[in-house]
Symmetry: C2
Subunit: 447 residues, 2 copies
Amino acid sequence: MFFNGSIGIFLDFYELTMAQVYFERNLLGKATFSLSIRTRPKNRPFFLFAGLEPFLNLLKNFKFKDADLEYLENLKIFKPSFLDYLKNFSFKGSIRCIPEGTIFFENEPICEVESDLISAQIIETLIINTLHIETLIATKALLCVNSAKGIPIFDFSARRTHGIDSSLHVARASYIAGFSGTSNVLAGKLWKIPVVGTMAHSFVEVFSSEEEAFKAFSETYPDRTILLIDTYDTIGATKKIIKLKSFFEENKISLKGVRIDSGNLVELSKKVRKILDKGGLKEVQIFLSGSLDEKEIKKLLKAKTPVSGFGVGTKMGVSEDAPYFEMGYKLVEYEGKPCFKLSPKKELLPGSKSLYRVWDEKDQFLFDLIALKDEFVDLSSYPKSTNLLKVVYKDDKILYHESLENIRSRVKEELKRNYRKRVKVSKAVKALYKHLKKKFLYSKENT
Amino acid sequence: MFFNGSIGIFLDFYELTMAQVYFERNLLGKATFSLSIRTRPKNRPFFLFAGLEPFLNLLKNFKFKDADLEYLENLKIFKPSFLDYLKNFSFKGSIRCIPEGTIFFENEPICEVESDLISAQIIETLIINTLHIETLIATKALLCVNSAKGIPIFDFSARRTHGIDSSLHVARASYIAGFSGTSNVLAGKLWKIPVVGTMAHSFVEVFSSEEEAFKAFSETYPDRTILLIDTYDTIGATKKIIKLKSFFEENKISLKGVRIDSGNLVELSKKVRKILDKGGLKEVQIFLSGSLDEKEIKKLLKAKTPVSGFGVGTKMGVSEDAPYFEMGYKLVEYEGKPCFKLSPKKELLPGSKSLYRVWDEKDQFLFDLIALKDEFVDLSSYPKSTNLLKVVYKDDKILYHESLENIRSRVKEELKRNYRKRVKVSKAVKALYKHLKKKFLYSKENT
């Protein structure tokens, strides 16, 4: 989508070294890998899933080009027959996944990939990387949306996200979570997200005075001007705006708002509001930005700060208080046999799975149930339930297409459902885990 | 470089709204913007600069394509004459910058851009974004390198960096800082960084037993096998390797090492080392990975853990304990006049600058001096000094090309120079700041 380079070669080297062994030994049986997040950071009540459509689009472009193969050949590790195999590679398989905009919890299988062993293995880095960044940001952005209680929030993070494609993921994921727009023009174009922005402090500095800067900007944008008022002195700038009132009227300028980007936002907003109201500019809105996140927004609203919109930047765009999730992609089944491992803190529920979600008659969340994929589970005594894992890719076709507006609606609905962690594991999964562990311990004793 | 999309449109919307005002009013005078980091996180003794060459390459591709202009036109905010201007835009100007691999401190001008006002303004998001991510990661990676005291470290972070191009920046920046290689194949190809990697837990799980997995892998890679031994039971796996000794000998396999990815790495490494030594596999090295960062590495080495290499992933790749720096790009001069602002905590040293670095006769760091660009400073009483800001871009040409090996050497040299924050501000800069503030306060009193 927004990365047109050699996607096929975006992988961890071990995926190729393993793949060559599989290729040589004809280990091409059907494998299932399962994606989940191992632990949940303290300040995240749940996760919000995003990134699926960008991932699927990248997956379609996961091809090894001539230059890639030449590079690999020069490493003198891979044999010609294996490189030939890569040359013809394109991902074929089946992917089941929860829809974007769905809330989920740690250790739940949120995406399962079934394919031949090599194909399923060599997309590991791509699938984690893409789903990780958007889920990370959607989850953080949702906290901001919740704090803002309906007041619009805008993504201002482009300059300090980790690279350009991160900025695009961030704009998309925060929009999914309920942000109202972004300052990121490229994201606006790619995802049809509303773009916003007015002026920087530098704009004010260029002119001989703040008044001149304000006049120039509002003349060019009579219908959409938001003036940045904290370049020198926020209160002083507000008074200057009052003095410009007749200028605005004469030039048919309807000033939309002012933005404060620094200082004590509570105090300043209240003072500015008073001055504007007294000066006959009641309709002029106040927008706030500058190191905001969900905690700051909460504080601002608790202090009854008069505000019509927030610009939220870096702290959301890098998920500052939890800049990564322990997302992993693990082999759970090979040739019909469940797989598992016992690495400390990296233990695994074996087998291909389903993830059932159960609601009560008022659409409130009751619990999730992790079951084996083909296990019969009787949820008929509950008013409403579904297997969250839907087929989103089959053979070589993407079956998931959803508008961002649709996903945004889902998130809004999700927020009404009273989620908190209640995840059950089916008896069959537990029994399988126990059985495998016992078998392993038995074999250990006997070697 | 690794982003072939519409770079021209990667900007914050306000850069365009400001630019249109400048364009309409013919405000096309020469402007200087200065890049610096406002504050230094507690756990960063200094910053390590990186990202310059990728930025310059992106800058050369900063063009508005037809589809971009069509998108902008449809926003109904920009006039045809301005869109025509953008159509023909390509960055021309002069950029002075410190070399990659240079250590620096907060509030130092590390890069200054001189161009017409519009050109200098609309690259704001691009320059911050690109220099920020690599400087962020180089700085973090250097802490890891310092902790590892000469033991090789490898970048394993590709799966959890924030997007794909972030993974490439991370591989490059960590290599600059002194990492020995990366697992990221695309980065290896792009930057000619050595790639490393062997097997995942999934590899072991695919085979009927660990022995079979170990045999298969080492047969394919007789000269470079590192076996992952913590899938089920690290000690058990090590004993199995001892039993495979004759298999290795018969098949002319020289086992390079084992990797432990979980558990108590200190204890396990010591036990594994003993078993290997006793079993006649003294030459087999131990590699460690799993949630490592500079603090963990320090602990491991303090506990005298036997180890020949570290795989460092997510915590470095997202700079976990400080996932962003407050990097900003500020107008400091317009049409020869110094600019400044007084926004709380965002105050600014006015004027185009030079950044002098002064060393003693033993090449030890003495201090930095921030001066005006054309100010005469007398540093002749010091053994060695230089203006760190070198011209790296002139008119429409990139003048900076440096091999990664060269930059790595610079970093190695930097580490010997005993850096700690000692930054002076020249009298002329101080006087200018005072003068502007006074002038502003005076004008405020008189309005």
